[in-house]
């Protein structure tokens, strides 16, 4: 059997009791602290203890009692070993792959935005949501897929729940990718707009990627490490080159793009990455950004522990009580849970935890470490984002993250009026912008710039001062590369999904090896997310305020579908009494998703509700208060808000369709009626000689 659930020796019992007490007291300390500032190390210790205790006890219990992981059972990797996608692999290698796949920009951006409520609500949700929700989802889905020859979530939904669940999972996944890419694209656009240094750096990374692609394809095939080392060096050169561009008057104006120009760049890039062969652009850029991503996350953790910075944000801001937050409007419940999706629970992970990772597992017992453990680590990344956002003066944090459409003086006056801890001056903002090498830091919405300012302050203090503007642009490049990885991989997968769905309507469309169809499907898919991106870019208040909640709802909807499949499987395995393990997080997601979707659609406040927002703008057009040249754009916004409303409703309905499908099946089992059989593949005993796979296991 897997590791015993309780520690055996007295020493082990004492150590674990100590960790648990330390965790509980640091969380308590964070919760009741009401001083000027609190040290970030409290967050690090509280988080580490929470994950350790949850991993040691809860995941062990789930593995032993609920899933009954069986280390004598051969995994798909052992049974179908083909030396290509099915390969029994060393567990630390699989851990590295799985973590690199699930760790995206979500846990960096979401927590940053949610800090408008203060540090406490977000931090608690990240910790509790991860150990009881996100980690459990990833682990259980990985188990289900491993027992089913490594099948995908969509296939499992079809096999276990039936065609309704299967279709919901398929369409839900595609819609989520559209919204996800749109909102991430918006984050990039906001980070690049009117920052020629950042823009030049990002543009420079594209030829670097192509060069590395050519190197690994033609010159030294498959020499990944060589290519990556050269590529990383060239990327750092891009940051320096960006500075050089910024210093040169002529080049500077060439890269000084506004939000609309940046949006076109992102769309053209997305199309190119999906339509060009993967080896040329997408794959080499991914190698580079994965290295950068893991390296920076590791550096950030080390720097936070060395520096132990002070958190200056209040535990709860007034916006936690009024629901009138300046970054996005809406009450603490449900919007803190929607804003922080990745980092607490992310439905998208279920797509990697099924289909990809299970084909590498050399033994079932590793599901615990790779499924539960990777998500705990990702949640820790979210805690670091919390720290990076809250060590900024609260006034500065808000000045970067909100767009009031007002002058610097007026914006500063509004923020300073919130209370003494938000006190801010125009000079302070100007000095900070100069330090970061930017024309201005006001209204750089989207989360990425404020995160980069936080990271730059941490890095420059820990690893050497005076280089602040280089650290800032390094951080921006890191975030943008990170996001482009999701953007281009998502566009490509979305294109395949679209072709797969589209072939039911028009058969030739499904031909993935036909070049015209590739171009057509890529164009349609980029147009789909480009529409929402454009809506965000043209929104006078920065767009992130409605696109991010929509993304949160869609990601939690996918988590709801995954947890429904998982709960259904646990019940079919005859473990109804343990169904709460996935059933409780599912119920919580159903409550927050439904509340959020209904609020976003029907709220009478035009700042919150899509429908009332559309009517409000339409009313302004009717009474003539919109200038003539803006009327067409405003009408486009009205239509877009109505589409957003329909989409939010559609997401909520989808979730309930799948939940009812699962409940229907449960009642049929309870009343002794027939249901689809459990699609688990049969038991085959593992052959330790064959399963070894990894040379240094």
């Amino acid at each position: 059997m897997t590791a015993s659930i309780m520690p055996k020796t007295i020493l082990a019992k004492l150590v674990w009791a100590g960790i648990a007490i330390l965790g509980a007291s640091t969380i308590g300390g964070i919760a009741i602290h009401r001083g000027e500032s609190i040290n970030a190390i409290w967050f690090v210790v509280a988080a580490a203890c929470t994950y350790l205790v949850a991993y040691r006890f809860y995941s062990a219990w789930i593995g032993a009692k609920v899933l009954v992981l069986d280390e004598t059972r051969a995994t798909p990797a052992e049974r179908f070993n083909n030396g290509r996608d099915f390969i029994p692999t060393n567990k630390w290698v699989v851990f590295g792959h799985h973590f690199a796949a699930i760790a995206g920009p979500g846990p960096l951006i979401g927590p940053t935005l949610a800090m408008q409520f203060g540090y406490l609500p977000g931090t608690i949700w990240i910790l509790v949501g991860a150990v009881l929700g996100g980690c459990v989802q990833d682990m259980v889905i990985m188990f289900c897929s491993t027992r089913r020859d490594g099948r995908s979530l969509g296939q499992m939904a079809r096999d276990e729940l039936g065609p309704v669940g299967g279709w919901a999972a398929l369409i839900g996944t595609m819609m989520i990718i559209v919204i996800l890419i749109a909102v991430l694209g918006l984050v990039i656009v906001k980070a690049m707009a009117h920052d020629p240094w950042a823009t030049a750096t990002v543009v420079g990374t594209i030829p670097v990627a192509m060069l590395i692609g050519l190197y690994m394809r033609g010159i030294r095939p498959g020499r990944v490490l060589e290519g990556t080392v050269i590529g990383i060096a060239l990327l750092l050169l891009c940051v320096v080159g960006g500075h050089w561009v910024d210093q040169n008057e002529a080049l500077r104006s060439l890269f000084d793009w506004d939000a609309k120009q940046s949006a076109w760049f992102v769309m053209i890039y997305g199309f190119a990455a999906a339509a060009l062969p993967v080896w040329l652009l997408l794959a080499p850029r991914d190698y580079l950004s994965t290295f950068l991503k893991l390296g920076v996350v590791f550096m950030l953790a080390v720097a936070i522990v060395i520096l132990t910075p002070e958190v200056k944000m209040p535990a709860m801001t007034e916006f936690a009580f009024t629901g009138m937050g300046p970054i996005f409007k809406g009450d603490l419940f449900p919007f803190v849970f929607i804003t922080i999706a990745c980092g607490a629970i992310s439905g998208f992970h279920s797509l990697v935890a099924s289909g990809t990772t299970p084909k590498l597992l050399s033994n079932e017992r590793e599901i615990r470490m790779i499924g539960y453990g990777s998500m705990a680590l990702e949640s820790f990344v979210a805690i670091m984002a919390v720290i990076a956002a809250t060590i900024l003066d609260p006034g500065i944090f808000f000045a970067i993250n909100i767009d009031l459409g007002k002058s610097a003086e007026d914006t500063v006056a509004v923020i300073s009026s919130w209370g003494p801890q938000y006190h801010l001056t125009v000079e302070q903002m100007k000095a900070l912008a100069v330090e970061m090498g930017l024309p201005s830091l006001f209204a750089r919405t989207g989360g990425a710039p404020s995160l980069a300012v936080g990271m730059a302050s941490i890095f420059s203090e820990t690893f050497g001062g005076g280089l602040m503007k280089f650290w800032y642009h390094f951080a921006i490049m890191f975030e943008v590369l990170f996001i482009l990885t999701t953007l281009d991989a998502g566009t490509r997968v979305g294109r395949f999904m679209l072709q797969d769905l589209g072939k039911h309507v028009w058969k030739p469309f499904g031909n993935v090896s036909s070049y015209p169809m590739t171009v057509l499907a890529s164009l349609i898919f980029v147009a789909a997310w480009g529409y929402f991106l454009w809506q965000g870019v043209t929104d006078p208040k920065g767009g992130i305020r409605f696109l991010w909640p929509l993304f949160g709802i869609s990601n939690q909807l996918l988590a709801g579908i995954a947890l429904s499949v998982a709960t259904g499987i646990i019940i079919k395995m005859g473990k109804l009494k343990y169904a709460w393990v996935t059933g409780l997080p599912l119920a919580w997601l159903a409550v927050i998703c439904t509340t959020a979707a209904v609020t976003k659609v029907f709220s009478p406040n035009p700042e919150i509700g899509f429908w009332s927002g559309a009517n409000f703008l339409a009313g302004k057009i009717a009474d003539g208060s919109i200038p003539a040249e803006k009327i067409a754009e405003t009408w486009a916004q009205v239509v877009a808000f109505r589409i957003d409303a329909a989409l939010a409703l559609f997401f909520a309905i989808m979730l309930w369709v799948v939940i009812f499908d699962m409940l229907r099946m449960t009642f049929r089992i309870r009343s002794g009626k027939s249901v689809l059989p459990l699609s688990e593949s049969g038991y085959i005993k593992t052959n330790p000689q064959l399963a070894i796979g990894a040379s240094h296991a």
Partner: protein, 60 residues
């Protein structure tokens, strides 16, 4: 002692990045299908890359 550790770290790095993927494939191939011609390094790399990027491999 230290050299063993460094060697291990190096071999982990090569494995986790996929740098030694072709060598592993060759070892597997010679063991399981000694009668068949293995793919060349370039062919193998091309195939793996196309496979990897045809499914969801990156999250948000």
């Amino acid at each position: 002692m230290i050299t063993t550790k460094l060697k291990r770290a190096w071999s982990y790095l090569r494995e986790v990045t996929g740098d030694d993927a072709y060598e592993r494939y060759l070892a597997h191939h010679t063991q399981s299908h000694p009668d068949q011609q293995p793919l060349t390094r370039a062919q193998y790399f091309r195939l793996r890359q196309d496979e990897k990027w045809s499914k969801v491999s990156r999250c948000c």
